[in-house]
């Protein structure tokens, strides 16, 4: 039996399993809550329960005092649920979050296209009002016979609510992506839940934006850039993309065309594994190296959006921070597949998001 917790001031709702703590569920859902000791002694993770009932469990009576229990406070690291819950945590509000409700939908496969040898573009037609989402968000796609739903970022712009584009990389030995690459046919029906995720453009922040993407991490940036350009956003927009080789480099013409049409949009791609390839006269190397070269190692005054596999994200964060752009200006979506290993590297409490 599971319950739902709505976390204010974000307004996000997450599932919490029986016996699971609020903190554990939030962190697994990608929502950072302040915490430190993680076993009820320090009180850093104190939250206010606005609606519903919790069990405080082994919260120390010094870290969560009687007056606080009376005031409906609880420690997220210890509290388990007795009902659905609304809590408020000490986290920043997101004025740019649209807060679209998560809904279950069905899409009909309308088009399948090989974008690269390992990435397929799949277009799903959705009837009625389609899918309301914010550019950068993802869907959880269910596939018959595959145990858990899989997350895929939406590559199309929110204006195309009835036609959802996904770019799906074939994961070695991947059950779901294997099916999608080899067996999916036009006319098939796929169920999914959307929209999900907290990766979206902070439009109210005036700074120029840069997108650093690698591999199939191009989906979210594509949607976000199309959305910005359609809205006539005039800030400077830079997309830096890294692929392995020429064959894996996709949507090159699309972005080159957009760059030609929009003076405020710049596109650069780099290839990391093209030593033998004489046909490529563009930059070589990884996307963080491309970024360092393009911005001259100084990123201060930007907002950066990172999307791609964990090692790419990690290298980009380091490069950005060495170029004086820090956590509050960096947003990211990191792809972990089962093959990447579920256990993240040991980390400290220094950063909230990284």
């Amino acid at each position: 039996m599971s319950y739902q917790v709505t976390i204010e001031p974000l307004g996000d709702t997450i599932e919490v399993e029986e016996g699971q703590t609020i903190l554990d569920a939030a962190l697994r859902a990608g929502i950072w809550l302040p915490y430190a000791c993680n076993h009820g002694l320090c009180g850093t993770c104190k939250v206010e329960v606005l609606e519903g009932e919790v069990e405080h469990n082994h919260a120390s009576s010094f870290a969560l005092m009687d007056i606080e229990r009376d005031e409906n406070k609880t420690l997220a690291c210890c509290a388990t649920l007795e009902s659905d819950l609304v809590i408020e945590a000490e986290i920043d509000e997101e004025p740019d979050a649209a807060g679209y409700a998560v809904e279950d939908s069905v899409g009909v496969v309308a088009r399948i296209e090989a974008l690269t040898p390992t990435i397929k573009g799949i277009w799903l037609d959705v009837e009625g009002d389609g899918v309301a989402f914010q550019a950068g968000q993802y869907i959880n796609l269910s596939i018959d016979g595959v145990e858990h739903p899989r997350a895929f970022s939406i590559a199309s712009a929110p204006s195309q609510a009835n036609s959802i584009e996904l770019n799906i990389r074939l994961v070695d030995g991947g059950e779901a992506t294997g099916f999608l690459h080899s067996q999916l046919a036009i006319g098939d029906r796929l169920s999914f839940t959307a929209p999900l995720g907290r990766f979206f453009v902070r439009k109210s922040a005036p700074e120029p934006v840069m997108f650093l993407a690698g591999g199939s991490g191009l989906s979210s940036p594509k949607s976000m850039i199309l959305d910005l350009l359609e809205a006539g956003d005039s800030r400077e927009i830079t997309l830096l993309y890294g692929a392995r080789n020429r064959a894996e480099l996709y949507y090159y013409d699309l972005f080159s065309g957009l760059a030609a049409d929009h003076a405020n949009f710049t596109y650069r791609a780099a290839l990391s594994d093209a030593a033998e390839d004489d046909s490529w006269d563009g930059p070589r190397g990884f996307v963080h190296e491309l970024a360092a070269a393009y911005f001259g190692g100084n990123f201060a005054g930007h907002k950066a959006y990172l999307c791609g596999p964990p090692p790419m994200i990690d290298a980009c964060i380091t490069t950005l921070m060495q170029g004086r752009l820090f956590e509050e200006h960096i947003f990211m979506e990191s792809f972990l597949t089962a093959a990447d290993g579920a256990e993240p590297a040991r980390r400290s409490a220094l950063f909230k998001k990284f």
């Binding site: 320090c42 009687d66 000490e90």
Partner: protein, 512 residues
Amino acid sequence: MAKAKRLGLKERYSLMTRGLDWETTYQPMDEVFPYDKYEGIKIIDWDKWEDPFRLTMESYWKYQSEKERKLYAILDAFQQNNGQLNISDARYMNAVKLWLQGITPLEYAAHRGFAHAGRAFRGAGARVACQMQSIDELRHAQTQLHAFSHYNKFFNGMHGFAHLRDRAWYLSIPKSFFEDAMSAGPFEFVTSISFAFEYVLTNLLFMPFVSGAAYNGDMATTTFGFSAQSDESRHMTLGLEVVKFMLEQHEDNVPIVQAWLDKWFWRGYRLLGLVGTMMDYMLPKKVMSWKEAWEIYWEENGIALFHDLSRYGIRLPKYHEVATKEKTRVTHELWATLYQYGNALGLHTWVPEDEELDWMSEKYGDLFDTMYRPRLLFLREQEQAGNRYFNNRLPMVCQVCQIPVFYTEPDDPQKQCVRIVEWADTKHHCCSDGCADIFNREPEKFVQSLIPPQQIYRGDAGGARDIFEYAEWLHLKKDIDTGEYNGSPDHQNWEAWQSQQPTPQANSDEAA
């Protein structure tokens, strides 16, 4: 769904606290806050300071007073039930004595230091954070004293911690650590205490002490520990915040912060040698070995933190690899030193029992069996033959950490490690490359260190001519407060109390 717009906790706090300070006009800000620039730390925008406490004074008093009520209710019960009889063994009390003499005064020093740092910062957020921590630290000093005071009725050596603090040679180790920090600028102070000590090394300080107290039946200290730990999280967050703030505000701050982290990692590590020795030797029931604690709290957690810090251009602190090499040795070398200078200590020393030696063999392996066990067995033999060894001279102590210069070379556990540094035609002795580097970076500061043995030889210890007169000047009674544990009044009293116990307390050793 129409949601009523309510203010978030963060927003509410900022509305309540924003704009409580002001730009001075009668006097320039630099005159009002003369100390927050000379260290070279550049702050572009104080408003970027993220307040780690987010607590109004009103709720602060409310929370802290409830904590006090709880703590003192438990301390009362502990005292009325003769809680001193429930500790594992009277030897455990020496851990409490060391804490009372060495660490409790540090809490008070932290109170003073944070009050001073708070006054020095021109940013209101940093000022308030330091002010609250200053009050917390005062409360920690007081509650520790109250928690320990009951033991003073039953055990020796606890009667004059304040007198000892400024006079005892071994207490100049913690005292000099804090005075070094307090006489630095406000940013270095907060980096040293909040970050290096309370964040990076805090688990190595609190875990052995509080868990050690719990393992050894010391209810008073355990309860104090819980009450303090709920404050420590704020202090740790302050440490993280101040370091991130400095590193993000200006790139010129990075090398300054790095130099402080190098210095305070090493100073903190050296100070923790005392705590490690307490863990390995003074706790009759062991929690974990110093080596294990170092591996978990430094080699895993600490290195992970510095891995994250590397994104700011911060590297691992200098000589961290030396500290790791020494993990199998420091506590054994330090205990041997405390043991031999036992005539001038406000606590007892002894040779551990056989099961404890076996535990050490298990934890420390070959090196313990070849180097330290034979020495301990020899000392035990001598003691049993009525020839308990004391070194009745004064040790040469390190000019920086003030620990006697007895540690060994990082790569040779049989060779004493001494580094001689020179300044203004005078030679000074250091215990390690780490301390020598700290001296060489600020020689004008460290030549001023008050070194207890030198002071004693100069006659500044009440004219004491030998170690016994010196101990008298410390108000320590020979063989009562000082010396060997076996046969001491503490030992005899404990045996007598145990034999009078209506319930067989002696069994508690086996039960655990």
